[in-house]
């Protein structure tokens, strides 16, 4: 059995007292389009830098197709990508930059450079200096530089950040097409729509730790269904919700009590409310978006405080 494209075990990176990455474990299988999610400062870019051998882990291991990128650059054979914005020599043309990259890969086939430029729709600007390129053009040139390596694994750090809507759509289409051609992709992003559209699996990172790893569907199932409740006495209803077993993540948003629960718990809650003489005006399931899940995972510490604030905001609550 061949080694997976990415296998990370117990990855830690500390900068003095700050732990930027804290025990990350993940496995990206061949053919995955893997979303690496997290808010700014969660440790995504630091993780990617370690995966590409740019910084050394404090602890733990990274293996790309079974090879250690921190031991030798040969481990990056079949791997390409960029971290943060792709960078080029501003005083050289796009073609010259790609020629340099190709030469640094032991390859100088001009047809490959033409094809790469064509793929990212920069053929007409090939002779222009990169210093005059827009952010979006640099992003696309970054993809072209990565494609020159004929990668089996592509690591992309926020590839659509800073692009206009058309540029973001083009970038998504390009990544989708590369994935369809069999390329494994690790996509670091905080653009949830992009991840939801492209990725079959995700890891959610929070303060350097992975708080979820799996498919988006599993994530949605695991979160339970969210419900919205309006009653004749929201203050009492909120108290009942908080006290009921099986009712979780209770909050108060836009004049409604919101909570997570399964169907059985909701049925029992309905009976408890009626027995308490609290009449239900509205009780409906809510669609859980990846954004909801993302925030519930990455802002966990804030949830208790939010709940307390929500309770205080309920009309009639003392």
């Amino acid at each position: 059995m061949s080694a997976p494209p990415i296998e990370v075990r117990g990855l830690v990176k500390r900068y003095g007292a700050l732990t930027a990455v804290d025990g990350v474990q993940l496995t990206v299988e061949a053919g995955d389009v893997y979303g690496y999610l997290g808010p700014n400062g969660a440790g995504k870019t630091t993780s990617l830098r370690m995966m590409l051998g740019l910084i050394r882990p404090t602890e733990g291991t990274v293996r790309l197709f079974g090879r250690d990128p921190n031991a030798t650059v040969a481990a990056l054979a079949g791997v390409a990508g960029f971290v943060e914005a792709p960078a080029f020599y501003p005083y050289l043309s796009a073609r010259r930059n790609l020629e340099l990259m190709a030469a640094f890969d032991g390859d100088s086939a001009p047809t490959r450079i033409d094809l790469a430029l064509d793929t990212v729709e920069l053929a007409s600007r090939a002779s222009d200096r990169v210093g005059g390129f827009s952010h979006g053009m640099r992003q696309r040139l970054g993809i072209a530089a990565a494609l020159l390596r004929s990668p089996k694994l592509l690591l992309l750090d926020e590839p659509a950040t800073g692009l206009d809507p058309a540029g973001m759509r083009d970038m998504r289409l390009l990544i989708r097409r590369l994935a369809d051609e069999g390329m494994t992709v690790l996509l670091s992003s905080h653009l949830l729509a992009e991840v939801e559209e492209l990725c079959n699996r995700v890891a959610v990172l929070r303060r350097g730790r992975i708080v979820y790893e799996g498919t988006i569907a599993e994530l949605a199932r695991g979160a339970g269904t969210r419900y919205r409740l309006a009653s004749t006495d929201d203050a009492r209803a909120l108290g009942i919700c908080v006290a009921r077993p099986g009712i979780a993540e209770v909050g108060y948003e836009h004049g409604h009590i919101v909570f997570s629960a399964d169907e059985q718990a909701v049925a029992e809650l309905s009976r408890a409310l009626i027995e308490a003489d609290v009449l239900i005006r509205e009780l409906a399931p809510q669609t859980v978006t990846l954004e909801d899940l993302f925030f519930s995972l990455t802002e966990g510490d804030g949830f208790v405080a939010e709940r307390a604030e929500a309770a205080a905001a309920v009309p009639g609550a003392s």
Partner: protein
Amino acid sequence: MTALAAPSERSGAATGRRPGVWAVYRWELVKLRYQKRTYLGLGASILAPLLLVLAINLRSGAGHGDAFAFSNYLTRSGLVVPLVILLFGAIWMFPLIVALVAGDIFASEDHNGTLKTVLTRSLERHQIFAGKMLVAATYAVFAILLGGTVGVIAGSLQSGFNSLQSLSGTIVSAPRGLELVYASLVVYLIPTAAIVSIGLMLSTLTRNSAAAVVGTLMISLLIQLIGILPGMSGAQPYLLSTQFNAWQGLLRTPTDWVPIIRALWVSALYGVPALIVALLVFLRRDVAGG
């Protein structure tokens, strides 16, 4: 968007063909061609002897005759011009010229953010270091030989391609004098190599081009300052600045090899540790920014 490259046409990274130091060297030279600082340094190398010749011409033309300092030497043979440039260029000009490239060559990668780009291709860090080091050395050699050659041509046009008076007072023929001029340029490269190493070290340590260039020049000036401090005359033979005068041993009869041999090991004492520090920093550093 069109189709990606055909699977049959695999890149070097995919086929296992490995590039080497030569690829870095060649492309660093290409990069130098596109950078202004390259031409600033080379322009100074060309301009300095031309200005000297112009000054000689103006003084001679103004009827001052032999009135100005060293005028007898300078007007007797054009071969003296490059030697005068070597003498005065050691103070700050040549250290600055070589620092323009050596101090910038790693730091500019940090500035442009391109270090992460090149380090994720197929070259080991030590190969990138070696290629860049060789280019910084090549630039230094080229700048000094260019300055010397312009000095020979301009000086010969002004004062003639005449015999040269050695520092021992003997007269050497013009062809032999030309040999000595180029041999002097080669000897001059020995302490220059140490300056290049210091520039490379500061380039990797500071990751800031301006700081590395100015820092290299400051170190060079500081070493000269130590040499003129009272009570420091005993240290003079072991200062890097002194080694810039080692070429004068070639202009003595018989040739004085002592300062040249000392220049070799004293320059190595300055240059090799600086180069080792630069290499270790580059090999071990985390590329968290550039």
